[in-house]
């Protein structure tokens, strides 16, 4: 499903989308596909596939560990496209999250072409700001891909406006000043930031990420955001599971909890 279709459907149901993040190839190519399919089956709306990268400055220890495992097991950029294809084939909505260097190395246009061919709806770029993104703006236009830049509590209104203009599909609001990782309390900075975004552009869907770990928090964030993005909490379930089957069960449990949380939202 297209991302705008997924947002429309969730809006009609009066609830936020749940976006679940998992590194491609963690711990292996096949197992990551199984994890992502399990996440979809448990009620997660959108799969954010993260391309494992050696120097992920925006990620906390959990995602970095998972990415390191994937890289150590030999996952390649080409495998990421195969994984996206396999997950998209199940009918799931898939977006890619990637640091910029692997894209530049692959060739920006070729990357956009192959990403689109694999069935992803677009790309989130945590270390690429619109100011440096001319090539990506052109390639994403050419292949009709959504492009998601980040905004932060520290962004000025002028930068938020500029970033929203460059985004297509949705915008990623980082809920707090910090790297990824589940936290006990979701920062109040997030709702302020969403308010500031809405004051500039009332239409663009806003996803809020960084720090959400369970259905209760998903409901809190979902009360004001269009999408709730969950990464470390899901990945931790796989990392800490004694075996593959237990990992999938744990993923399904958390996926269901998040989906229930999203559906409990009243706004």
């Amino acid at each position: 499903m297209s991302l705008s279709g997924a947002f429309d459907k969730a809006r009609a149901e009066g609830r936020p989308l749940i976006v679940g993040c998992m590194p491609a190839g963690f711990p292996t190519v096949d197992e990551s596909v199984a994890s992502m399919v399990a996440m979809v089956e448990s009620g997660i709306d959108v799969i954010e596939v993260e391309l494992p990268y050696s120097d992920p400055v925006m990620d906390g220890p959990v995602i970095q560990k998972a990415s390191d495992i994937a890289l150590a097991n030999g996952v390649r950029t080409k495998d990421t496209f195969k994984i996206i294809e396999a997950v998209a084939r199940t009918g799931a909505t898939v977006v890619l999250m990637t640091y910029w260097n692997p894209v530049e190395r692959y060739g920006v246009d070729a990357f956009a072409r192959d990403l689109s061919a694999a069935g992803a709806t677009g790309m989130i770029t945590p270390d690429l700001i619109p100011d440096e993104a001319d090539e990506w703006l052109a390639a994403s236009d050419a292949y009709r891909l959504d492009r998601t830049f980040l905004v932060s509590p520290s962004s000025t209104d002028a930068r938020i406006a500029m970033t929203l203009k460059a985004c297509r599909g949705w915008v990623y609001a980082t809920a707090l000043m910090g790297v990824t990782g589940a936290r006990d309390v979701v920062s109040s900075e997030a709702s302020d930031l969403v308010r500031r975004i809405r004051a500039i552009d009332a239409e663009i869907p806003v996803g809020v990420g960084l720090g959400v770990r369970d259905g209760k928090q998903a409901a809190e964030v979902g009360a004001y955001a269009d999408a709730v993005i969950v990464g470390s909490a899901l990945i931790r379930r796989v990392l800490e599971a004694p075996d593959r089957a237990a990992g999938l069960t744990a993923l399904r449990e958390l996926g269901a909890d998040l989906a229930t949380g999203a559906r409990s939202v009243t706004r």
């Binding site: 400055v57 390649r76 910029w100 692997p102 190395r105 270390d127 980082t174």
Partner: protein, 413 residues
């Protein structure tokens, strides 16, 4: 040469540089940029910085005409004695400048990354002097090979955090410092240690260490009546090299040579020569030459010198390379250690292993230079730091110390 004013307003050196960082850091980089622009033209700031350099760091550093070394190499060798600065390297210039900037921005905490420990020690020193809290990230591997510098930092009141991610070296310490900064940007200045990273760091660091070249240029004119034929420096991230090169860039007749860490040899793949053996990419916030694989994953670097053991290089060096204004070639661990020993034995100076790369490189270019010029060339070598921190590494390399740092009896050498 009518060189453009670089970087441009967006921090680009031609196609290099820029800002490839999370949006969360942009406000801090903008704040730093604004603070730096105003400090640059503020006589009070410049007087304070100049005063600290003179009265505290001990600059201008000497320009020393190395007679015995010159005889051995067949050129007039002038050593820019940055090793005589307080804390033993050029790094003190950068940290004093940035610590003053941190104060100017009202930030009470600085974080730094360090490989060999020189920048960490310098940061801890500046923080102590200016009453700032200091946290230094250091790869776990480096904390082991530079234990003495870890002790120094702690004595100076800094907290040293060993980084256990990735290759547990400088690149990972940099990642960890960036992560800290994303979370603490309102109270903290990231005291970046080399002329790399996102704009405006490459420009700020270059300007703060640029006194090396300005001083050396004037000293050389006074000593010899002319500019040198060549300037050589080692290049890891490239701060000492850009510091000495910058003042000479408009002097077309002065050749600029950067020497990268060739490690075990380029053919082995175990090196840290980002320009010679790397390709264009984005790492640690800037587009520059980096060591990477086909997928753009960073490749681990290797050098006997922890200070050069970094898989990237400052973006201005990439630009100087592409435009041909400076030449960059590798020097192996072995060549560097030969030069290290040569300087010890001819001049009674124990250099940092980093600086030994600049010296080894000078020795390599001299024969061709002499032939081309038809006379003995004058070569300015940036002796960027002293070798105290490397005594353990060098002692093991030459078989003087064993693994437990016990002295090997003379008869066994």
């Amino acid at each position: 040469m009518s060189a453009p004013v670089l970087p441009d307003l967006a921090g680009h050196f031609g196609r290099f540089g820029g800002r490839f960082v999370p949006e969360a850091l942009i406000a801090a980089l903008d704040e730093l940029d604004a603070a730096y622009r105003s400090a640059k033209t503020d006589p009070e700031f410049q007087a304070e910085f100049g005063g600290l350099l003179r009265d505290y760091a001990g600059t201008p550093s000497l320009l020393y005409s190395a007679r015995r070394l010159s005889e051995r190499l067949g050129a007039r060798i002038l050593l820019k004695r940055e090793d005589l600065n307080h804390t033993g390297a050029h790094k003190v210039r950068n940290v004093l400048g940035q610590a003053l900037l941190a104060k100017r921005m009202g930030k009470q905490r600085v974080i730094a990354e360090t490989g060999a420990g020189q920048h960490g020690v310098a940061s801890a020193t500046a923080a102590a002097l200016l009453d700032l809290e200091c946290v230094v990230y250091m790869g776990e591997v480096d904390t082991e090979r530079q234990a003495l510098n870890v002790a120094r930092m702690r004595m100076l009141g800094a907290t040293v955090v060993p980084v256990t991610n990735g290759s547990r070296t400088l690149k990972d310490a940099l990642n960890e410092a960036l992560r800290d900064w994303v979370a603490s940007v309102q109270t903290t200045h990231y005291l970046l240690g080399t002329a790399a990273g996102p704009a405006p760091f490459p420009e700020i660091v270059r300007d703060f260490v640029g006194g090396i070249g300005t001083e050396a240029r004037a000293q050389c004119l006074e000593l010899t009546g002319a500019l040198p034929d060549a300037v050589t420096a080692c290049v890891g991230g490239g701060s000492n090299a850009i510091g000495i090169f910058h003042a000479f860039v408009p002097d077309e007749g002065v050749r600029l040579y950067g020497f990268e860490a060739g490690g075990d040899g380029m053919e082995t793949g175990r090196h840290a020569a980002s320009i010679t053996g790397g390709s264009t990419g984005v790492l640690h916030g800037a587009r520059t030459y980096i060591l990477q694989d086909e997928d753009g994953q960073t490749v681990e670097s290797h050098s006997i010198s922890a200070g050069l053991d970094y898989p990237g290089v400052g973006p201005e060096h990439s630009w100087l390379h592409d435009t041909g204004r400076a030449s960059y070639t590798p020097v192996t661990d072995r060549e560097a250690m030969d030069a290290f020993q040569l300087l010890c034995r001819t001049e009674g100076i124990i250099p940092a292993i980093e600086s030994a790369h600049a010296l080894a490189g000078a020795a390599k270019i001299i024969p061709a230079l002499r032939e081309e010029l038809g006379r003995e060339p004058v070569v300015l070598v940036n002796l960027s730091g002293r070798g105290d921190k490397d005594v353990h590494t060098a002692g093991a390399y030459f078989g003087i110390l064993d693994q437990n740092e016990t002295i090997v009896p003379e008869e066994n050498l």
